[in-house]
Symmetry: C2
Subunit: 147 residues, 2 copies
Amino acid sequence: MTIMSDINLGPLTTLTGYALRRAQVAVFQDFHAMMEHEDIRPAQFSVLEVLKHNPGLRQTQVSLTLGIKSANFVPLFDALERRNLAERRPIEGDRRARGLFLTQLGLDTLTRLEKLVDQHEARCETKLGPTGKRTLLDLLHRLTEAR
Amino acid sequence: MTIMSDINLGPLTTLTGYALRRAQVAVFQDFHAMMEHEDIRPAQFSVLEVLKHNPGLRQTQVSLTLGIKSANFVPLFDALERRNLAERRPIEGDRRARGLFLTQLGLDTLTRLEKLVDQHEARCETKLGPTGKRTLLDLLHRLTEAR
DNA sequence: TATTGTTATACTCTATAACTATA
DNA sequence: TATAGTTATAGAGTATAACAATA
């Protein structure tokens, strides 16, 4: 039980990157707590969602979209395939590439995951207030977009 | 040269955690590019700032404040000490604990780093607009604070 | 020659358990 | 018994280079 000490953070208090990191860690901890017994990580969830909404994409397209290096995407997707949540299928006309799809189990699982994520997201919205989340997303997009 | 494809991100488009992660990565990349030839990482910078504003803190206090596990703090601080940027000193009255301080070189270095960080932060502010940054910090704090 | 996917590998970050020396 | 710091270690996450198969 530590007394809340008045430690001076100096310029960190107004440093965008520092605030971003702390908030991201906090939000991801909540996500992780929610997904723990489903054993799904944020990156895996994002891949499943992309495949649900864009079945048949190539690995390069998915990994580029999500900012995952193709070399790192391979073991990530291998794990999903091993669990029979998603699969690689041959593509007509290009025997180098593979199309990525959810399996039926993957789709069913994702439906269950989305309910959990909705609860997780609701907790964020509670903290941010009704208009706060919209504002936050807008500001974050400005930081993410190149230029 | 890839054509910008219209890939559907589904619920990720309004997922706070996803937007947070992408923004944090973008901001940290800019920080890293700025600090590359100084060879200082975000966590190291934050430790140096805390020591500058709170000389003599114990390791536990610093690591707890910054959300770094004490076991991971040791090699982090070892590196700073090896480079003669900071040092551990004995504490009167408790021979288990050590007080942490910047060296003169550490203080001089930090002064130089702060100028770089100011430029980095200015780029963030440009993207966020004058009131945007203040709003963003407020919203991020709401996510970070427990409750 | 260029592209898709892959392997191997290394480095950072983070997490846990167990230890020491002191209190 | 509890605390401050430390060690060892394992697991993620991320980065680069090089390769095979195919275009």
